[in-house]
């Protein structure tokens, strides 16, 4: 398959995944900020939202204040923000157009319809909360449909594997970013100073990775911050955990390796990260520092993106 086609499929999947993640971040933030201040403390949740979206710095080139209106605009509709939801969908459509022959008609239809709806319905942004909720649901449904149609209709060949690599690499990055911004509320009991205020932060984290129900099924416990960290980092059964993303990355890279009859740097690098996750315990991670662990993961993860690019996509 053409390297450029693989590259487009990889990025197409990333854009769609990112758009959904942004929608969930906004949704989770709205819920926390709707609570009385006494429940959530004094942190500016909209600032956190910008940080987890990785646009903390660029935002202030365009706005003075990180309030609800500005942040939602910047994350959802802004042309200035290269990874706003709008730009993600635009980029996904452009990528789809250049690899139409590698997409199934269901996938194309999902992206093309989303793009048409974006222009027809959401060209002026959203006017009120109700519209916003509708918009966020539209974005999440687009991602679900895209993912579902890829899963149900694509041939299981390199086109599928490269597209999956994009999904899981982006997803791992997103989960790691939430952890990076919120790690301070996820410390183990003895170090924990926040008290009940943090309860709503915890649910907010779980909500942004759609894992509120999952948590209870896995641990059968009330919310404990260290268990939330365990779920998001090490629990292979949660699709958005770092461990699960890496099981998938390793599997898809292996399939490419087998099909092409050759393993390379990306297979080795991904296995290295997966092994580290597999053999880690939360206790050790807390001991060595959650923050350091996450930062290191983010670096390793984006390094994998570079290695895949070098090995296959150019």
């Amino acid at each position: 398959m053409l390297s450029r086609t693989a590259e487009n499929l990889f990025w197409l999947a990333r854009y769609v995944e990112r758009a959904e993640y942004l929608a969930r971040t906004i949704d989770a933030t709205l819920r926390v900020t709707a609570l009385p201040a006494a429940y959530v403390g004094k942190t500016n949740e909209w600032d956190s939202a910008l940080l987890t979206a990785g646009v903390g710095a660029s935002f202030y080139d365009h706005y003075e204040e990180a309030n609800e209106r500005n942040v939602i605009e910047y994350l959802s509709f802004s042309d200035e923000n290269p990874s706003s939801i709008r730009n993600c969908i635009e980029a996904a459509r452009l990528n789809s157009r250049s690899v139409r022959t590698a997409l199934t008609s269901e996938m194309w239809d999902t992206i093309n319809s989303a793009w048409i709806e974006l222009q027809a319905v959401w060209s002026k942004g959203t006017g009120n909360r109700e519209e916003l909720a509708k918009f966020l649901r539209f974005v999440q449904e687009t991602s679900l449909r895209f993912d579902g149609s890829a899963y149900r209709t694509m041939l299981r060949n390199d086109a599928y594997w490269f597209s999956r690599l994009g999904v899981h690499l982006e997803r791992a990055d997103n989960t790691a970013r939430i952890l990076d911004v919120k790690y301070h509320v996820l410390l183990p009991e003895e170090e924990h100073v926040g008290g009940p205020l943090d309860y709503y932060q915890w649910t907010s984290i779980l909500r942004s990775v759609s894992a509120t129900t999952a948590y209870h099924w896995v641990y059968r416990e009330t919310l404990k911050p260290w268990l939330i960290a365990d779920l998001l980092i090490l629990n292979d059964t949660l699709p958005r955990s770092l461990a699960s993303c890496y099981s998938n990355l390793v599997r898809n890279l292996d399939q490419i390796g087998v099909a092409y009859g050759r393993q390379g740097a990306s297979q080795r690098h991904a296995r290295g990260i997966r092994n580290r996750l597999e053999h880690s315990h939360m206790d050790d991670i807390f001991q060595r520092g959650v923050h350091e662990f996450i930062q290191e993961f983010i670096t390793d993860n984006s390094r994998l993106g570079e290695i895949i690019t070098k090995q296959y996509l150019i």
Partner: protein, 472 residues
């Protein structure tokens, strides 16, 4: 202008046989049902993403070509004649190209003036003496056909470079079959769906000798911003071949390779939808970012087949067009089956003075123009436009030809005020491979949607129709 020949109602209003069933059906079908289907068709086109781009139109980089749901119908007899004429014409085009880039018998016989070839910017000296597999230059031709009466097919233009529009022929049919199953059931319409297979086998048949037993074919596009990009991706998909851009290709030791996830892979045949000028920055335009450095040297070495060949523009040039009847006679010793439109060559003083005297009645075209741009339609033009053209003509007569304003045939078409006749043309696609020349029965019917308009180009507000060739 007098009423034009109508494809359905002839000249005098007598229903022509091929349209009997359609006419009956139209009478039974309420107008709002037609309108409803029209909207449905538009929705389908938009969902599939069949769009084209209009250059310099910032507002809408992607537009739909309006689709008219009333089919244009031709009887089997009409088609047989047209098919014969098209094959003859394309054979002559290929023989002419081989001759121009080799022995030049036609110049020595004084049929065509030399400077018209050698001074022509679309003549490619790089092709002198260059052999191409099976002497085929034009593998894919789109010949624009018009009618002014029931008896004659007239060629308006030969497109021998990178003719487009075939995706509309195929998609229009798909959509018509989906929207009007009962209308189809009442006709016996020859299918068009084998076009992609015919194209692929034609392309594979012209692979170079150095190619593997199973030659690799790729379709080369300028990219997503090209106006015909949809068609490029559509065809690559139907043919099951890679859709490549210049940056996907690399030339090593005079062989062409594409960059794949498994390393470099040799390409044998390129169906290129990129103009000559942009193919290879080392040979043609050095500023081209679309091309592949070294492609022309791989071509010269005979390791890659380009379809269509480089330099075919000399055969579809509008100044050469006027010599086509002579070209057919010269190479085939046959009378041309398809007529030419009478053409005045402004480069010839006598013709020029006639043209200048009759500008208000003539259509004047740029020799190298296309897409309906840069054209004067005398009867529809203002005095000022005519005068501006007169200046242009005097300054650079060799850049223009002139033709009478023809009353192109009309076909019933949905308009705001119900069904009304609109002018149409037809572009059938002629495929030439090493073994045979094939024409899928049908083509792209273009329709000028504005009342009275003769310009069918999509960039100028034209639409399309499905074209039905009835079986015996």
């Amino acid at each position: 202008m007098a009423a034009a020949f109508d494809e359905m109602n002839g000249l005098g209003g007598d229903l022509r046989p091929a349209y009997q069933e359609l006419s009956r059906w139209l009478k039974e079908t309420p107008p709002d049902a037609l309108e409803y289907r029209r909207q449905e068709a538009e929705l389908l086109f938009r969902r599939i993403g069949i769009t084209f781009a209009v250059y310099g139109d910032a507002e809408a980089t992607e537009r739909l070509i309006p689709f008219d749901v009333i089919p244009r119908i031709m009887s089997a007899n009409e088609w047989t004649l047209l098919e014969k004429g098209l094959k003859q014409r394309v054979l002559a085009l290929n023989m002419f190209l081989k001759d121009i880039y080799h022995g030049r018998d036609i110049l020595r016989a004084n049929i065509i003036p030399e400077d018209l070839i050698f001074q022509n910017p679309v003549f490619r000296p790089e092709m002198n003496g260059q052999d191409v597999p099976h002497d085929i230059y034009v593998h894919i031709a789109g010949i624009d056909i018009i009618r002014t009466d029931p008896d004659n097919f007239i060629v308006l233009e030969d497109n021998a470079r990178t003719p487009s529009g075939v995706s509309y022929m195929l998609e229009n049919r798909e959509i018509m079959m989906r929207l009007f199953p009962d209308l189809f059931a009442r006709h016996r319409v020859a299918p068009v769906e084998r076009y992609p297979d015919e194209l692929l086998s034609a392309l594979r048949s012209v692979a170079p000798h150095s190619a593997a037993a199973e030659p690799t074919v790729a379709l080369m596009t300028p990219g997503v911003y090209n106006s015909a990009y949809y068609e490029h991706s559509f065809l690559a998909d139907k043919l099951g071949i890679e859709l490549v851009e210049g940056r996907d290709l690399v030339v090593k030791n005079d062989e062409v390779f594409m960059r794949t996830t498994e390393g470099l892979k040799r390409v044998d045949v390129i169906y290129r939808r990129v103009d000559d000028d942009f193919l290879d920055p080392l040979t043609f335009r050095p500023d081209s970012a679309l091309g592949v450095p070294g492609l022309m040297s791989a071509y010269a070495a005979g390791n890659i087949t380009l379809a269509n060949a480089v330099g075919t523009g000399i055969a579809d040039d509008k100044a050469i067009y006027s010599y086509m009847p002579d070209i057919v006679k010269f190479y085939l010793s046959e009378e041309p089956i398809l007529k030419n439109v009478q053409t005045w060559r402004c480069r010839e003083p006598q013709d020029l003075s006639y043209v200048l005297d009759n500008l208000a009645d003539l259509v004047v075209k740029e020799v190298h123009g296309s897409g309906g741009y840069g054209m004067l339609i005398g009867p529809a033009a203002t005095k000022a436009t005519i005068e501006a053209f007169r200046d242009k003509l005097k300054r650079e007569p060799e850049g223009f030809i002139a033709q009478p304003t023809l009353a192109l045939s009309t076909c019933p078409t949905c308009t705001d005020k119900g069904l009304a006749p609109r002018h149409v043309d037809l572009r059938p696609f002629v495929l030439t491979g090493s073994e045979r020349t094939t024409i899928v029965p049908g083509g792209l019917t273009r329709v000028a949607l504005k009342e009275g308009s003769l310009v069918v180009n999509s960039s100028q507000g034209g639409g399309t129709k499905d074209t039905w060739i009835l079986s015996e």
